[in-house]
Symmetry: C2
Subunit: 205 residues, 2 copies
């Protein structure tokens, strides 16, 4: 919700506090990592009492989860897109390339990169947290690819026997691994190539 | 080197110390993470003086790097394979499926999983360490895929315009991401499917 004149003062104040808490949580986890981030630390940095945080969230994981959801919504709005939507122009390759290029942009954005790395690192060694964040943050985004690939199957652009949940990994996972593990550089040309290889295969046609 | 009667006593003692140090380093990093693992802690757990470690290695990163290389060699030997080789039977799909199934086995091995996760997590937030371990541990393994794909290009089984270093990511990265981020289960059936999709593409032929 954005502040506007029809919103009462108390809601505007709450909205400001909520945004300050998100910013503090993302900054702290980026700077000191997930294990050392505490509700008290977030409250202190946000300039609110910790009871304010406990009124809205039950744990630091919950605060961070919502902070990341908000970050994704802001990024989508800044890019002029509705959050949690996927283009469907009828040209599957073009649509996939567009979304992956936007992901490359997001991965290069410092506001996204540092907190995302901190959380991803913790998820690797903390299975419970990893699974929660995958279920609530990553999987909903992957399901947008599933829906787009199903639409492509209906249009005859993807074979009917292909499992869309596996197929999306052919282009999503390579980009994720290059970014997460610094295995190689990321670029638009790279993600475009992934889409072409995944759609057409690497064997001769 | 394995201990045998032609090896002098001093070398056998060194070999035992070296193995104890590897085991201690892998166990410690799995239990307390990379940042808290110290040369002193490794020495204490291995039952050697820390000067013994400093005689052979200059940092904890170096100890861990060699411990992982040793772990990989032991796993290859236990599987009856020569380390750092890749099958080339002439059947590309079969060879890729065999290697990926062996990787699934390794990922499920507790001796491999816990220290590998600890190191991968640190590499996500510690770019210097991440890049060093990719260069020395991961990239040499990926180059085996590159060589196999080049041989397949020579045989006409992969299109000549395909970049093997990108193509390998179509099956290697999805498995890595499922394992690292708990995004979905791993199985032989899954990795076999990845190989089929990557070779043939997901679009109709």
């Amino acid at each position: 919700m954005s502040a506007n004149q029809s919103v009462p003062d108390v809601t505007r104040r709450s909205e400001r506090s909520r945004r300050a808490i998100y910013d503090a949580a993302l900054a702290l986890v980026a700077e000191i990592g997930y294990p050392k981030t505490t509700i008290e630390g977030i409250a202190s940095r946000a300039g609110v009492g910790k009871q304010t945080i406990y009124r809205w969230w039950s744990s630091k994981a919950d605060v961070l989860l919502e902070a990341f959801l908000d970050l994704g919504e802001q990024a989508a709005e800044a890019a002029g897109q509705a959050p949690y939507t996927f283009p469907d122009t009828g040209d599957l390759a073009a649509d996939l390339k567009q979304v992956l290029r936007a992901t490359v942009d997001e991965m290069r954005d410092p506001a996204f990169e540092a907190p995302s790395r901190a959380l991803a690192a913790e998820g690797v060694v903390n299975e419970e947290l990893g699974r929660e964040f995958v279920a609530k943050l990553l999987e909903p985004q992957l399901q947008l690819y599933v829906d787009r690939l199903r639409s492509a199957q209906d249009a005859g652009d993807v074979r009917p026997d292909v499992d869309p949940r596996i197929a999306l990994e052919l282009f999503v996972s390579p980009l994720a691994q290059r970014w997460l593990q610094y295995t190689a550089p990321i670029s638009y040309e790279y993600t475009d190539t992934l889409v072409d290889y995944a759609l057409n295969g690497i064997a001769p046609r």
